[in-house]
């Protein structure tokens, strides 16, 4: 039944339907509502999970790891400082091949304290072995969370999945939500290396260079295999529930001369900018990156590219711009915008496209388009 929900509520609703056996989490703005809602579902018996209100994010992920290795479905949620505090354990979860699902509500990193949207928190988790998807709407946050469990737990993946949604811009705004009847969309979880006292083994023991190297390669191989799994899960989702998702969301790209690439809610804002530019006769398109890991194939032969980055690698460049440049093997216009929740309207985005200077980098509001 169609309702109105915030991004946070939508995630909690998806978790309720996925029925993890164990949920461990620690509050942080703007994620807090997710775990409050889950705690409420558990308290009222709507969700039969064990909810562990841990004392820190480091412990939240450690508890998920301990639970997941017994072969049960697990979930947690965090944001910003919490994700950073968890970093040792996020690496552990991936290295231990545990299909934990986590929602991360993207938020800037301190100092100064800033609770608004930015992608630098999850971007710093790029190299941990987590799959990462970024939602552009409340509906998508819900759908992505449900699909995340099936993808993470697939035998060809067995890696953790992070579902990202922009702080406040998505976590706290209300949009229509059309929940699904999941039926058998999520099969029971099966973990081939689940702890078994009948068959004792050492998990994560000291490992010499050659074996360690093979384990790392296994992670990469699964990352590559996850492409097919994501495709098939997204296709199955479309077949069952009528909503189609790809690795990217393309908007008017086919005949475009110039394409703006972005993530999360800015990607949705960009679509409005494209409509405006098109009405002025400018052939622009938008490509919203949904999956960051595994990184999608991007085919934009012959178009000029503008990348909007809501994250930055100091001393180097916009993280998304850097990734795209290395894939398309040519130069682009890199705009750094929206850090710490800086307001970026569709008109601003239209300006980025109009005033593009390929080969340059611009910090919006600081040295250009001000």
């Amino acid at each position: 039944m169609k309702t109105i929900a915030t991004g946070n509520k939508a995630v909690a609703e998806a978790v309720k339907q996925a029925q993890p056996t164990v949920i461990a989490a620690y509050p942080i703005t703007p994620q807090t509502q997710i775990i409050e809602q889950i705690a409420e579902y558990v308290a009222s018996g709507k969700l039969k999970s064990r909810f562990i209100p841990v004392e820190s994010e480091h412990s939240a992920m450690a508890a998920c790891i301990g639970a997941s290795v017994t072969g049960v479905r697990t979930f947690t949620a965090t944001s910003s400082q919490g994700l950073l505090y968890m970093h040792e354990m996020t690496n552990w979860a991936a290295g231990a091949r545990l299909p934990i699902v986590m929602a991360n509500v993207n938020r800037a990193i301190s100092p100064g304290w800033n609770i608004w949207a930015e992608h630098t928190d999850s971007m710093q988790e790029r190299d941990t072995g987590w799959l990462q998807v970024y939602a552009g709407s409340v509906q998508e946050a819900y759908d992505a969370t449900l699909m995340a469990f099936r993808i993470a737990e697939h035998e060809d993946v067995l890696l953790p999945v992070m579902v990202n949604l922009d702080g406040f811009a998505l976590s706290h705004i209300s949009q229509p939500l059309d929940p699904v009847e999941i039926g058998d969309f999520l099969p029971p979880m099966f973990l081939p290396h689940a702890i078994d006292t009948q068959n004792p083994a050492g998990y994560g023991v000291l490992t010499g260079p050659d074996d360690y190297f093979k384990f790392r390669w296994d992670i990469e191989r699964s990352m590559r295999d996850s492409v097919k799994v994501i495709e098939s899960v997204q296709e199955d989702y479309a077949r069952r529930f009528g909503r189609c998702y790809g690795f990217t969301e393309d908007y008017c790209c086919d005949d475009a001369n110039v394409v703006v690439i972005s993530m999360g809610t800015l990607g949705k804002e960009a679509e409005v900018a494209i409509d405006m530019l098109r009405s002025e006769g400018i052939r622009a398109g938008s490509l919203r990156l949904r999956w960051l890991r595994p990184f999608p194939e991007i085919n934009l032969e012959g178009r000029e590219i503008v990348v909007i980055d809501r994250a930055y690698s100091f001393g180097f460049g916009g993280i998304l711009a850097t990734s795209i440049r290395s894939r398309i093997k040519r130069d682009l216009y890199s705009v750094i915008a929206g850090l710490g929740g800086q307001e970026v309207t569709y008109e601003d985005i239209a300006d980025f496209i109009r005033q593009r200077r390929i080969g340059e980098e611009c910090w919006f509001g600081v040295n250009d388009h001000a």
Partner: protein, 291 residues
């Protein structure tokens, strides 16, 4: 109660000669039996376990990051109970992983009433990284980061754990294996969190010769530098070796002399150590008597 002949610590383990950490583990696993999962943070035990693809432990061992053991146990214990299993979940951590970096997770898991046994084997330093001081290093002991002797007293982890009111907690030492064995058995009978703090004399760390590990453990108890007791639902009872020792402790020098780490300890520090012992005897006897 007979100690079973089954061995869960296999012969390929790679500990130092005379290691009381492995000796402790041997009795712990005999007491716990095969339906047990060990959770081991970074420490000597993760080395003793051996190298992939081998393992020296005949129960599943889940290795985890240094500060995360108790939280991992919370997740595992909750999951296993949700699956209807009675499997014993035992954290087996060093003093560094317990008193220092792991204390936040420990406190959280105890406060939440996690059903598990937390064992801290205490070799009074960071063994794994080559004997740096830990919160458990006693006053006056030399380590690689306290080359002229530690200036701070040993952190009282037992008082900290006791403040969480677990149903059962105890101290032990593998020099008294039957006592250790019985305490593990007992701890595992309680639902909720239990705690065992085990003094584990460490030949390279304490600088004594490896055949003397058991003797050192006995001297620690006889000098009352280490007191054996248990606390059941808050009620303290001294274990018999300590009850006897407290009546007439041997001179502290007899415990310190065989150990290189106390070499050259000054008179003032020695006096402070002796005073700490006298105070702890007074406090514990008064508490047992209900004072």
């Amino acid at each position: 109660m007979d100690i079973p002949s089954e061995e869960y610590l296999l012969k390929c383990s790679s500990s130092c000669a005379g290691c009381s950490d492995s000796l402790t583990l041997r009795y712990v696993l005999k007491a716990a039996g095969p339906d047990t999962v060990l959770i081991v943070p970074a420490c000597c035990t993760s080395v003793i376990q051996g190298m992939y693809p081998q393992t020296a432990f005949n129960v599943p061992v889940y290795n985890i990051a240094f500060g995360a053991a108790a939280a991992c146990a919370s997740g595992m214990s909750n999951a296993l109970r949700a699956l209807g299993r009675k499997t014993s979940v035992i954290v087996y951590a060093g003093d560094g992983g317990t008193l220092d970096i792991g204390i936040q997770a420990l406190s959280g898991a105890f406060e939440r009433g996690t059903d598990f046994l937390y064992i801290c084997y205490d070799n009074e330093a960071y063994g794994n990284t080559g004997m740096q001081r830990s919160g458990a290093t006693p006053l006056g002991a030399r380590t690689t980061t306290t080359p002229s002797g530690k200036m701070d007293v040993k952190k009282d982890i037992d008082a900290i754990v006791a403040a969480h009111s677990p149903p059962y907690m105890a101290t032990a030492c593998p020099a008294y294996p039957r006592d250790l064995f019985q305490k593990v058995r007992k701890a595992l009978m309680f639902r909720g969190p239990s705690f065992l703090h085990v003094l584990a004399p460490c030949p390279p760390g304490w600088r004594f010769s490896p055949e003397k590990s058991v003797e050192l453990g006995k001297l620690a108890v006889k000098s009352c530098m280490w007191v054996l007791y248990e606390r059941e639902h808050g009620k303290l009872s001294l274990s018999s070796p300590s009850r006897t020792a407290m009546k007439k402790p041997i001179p502290l020098e007899e415990y310190l002399a065989p150990q290189g780490r106390f070499e050259g300890i000054n008179a003032e520090t020695l006096e402070a150590l002796k005073q700490n012992i006298a105070e702890s005897i007074k406090r514990l006897t008064a508490e047992e008597a209900g004072g």
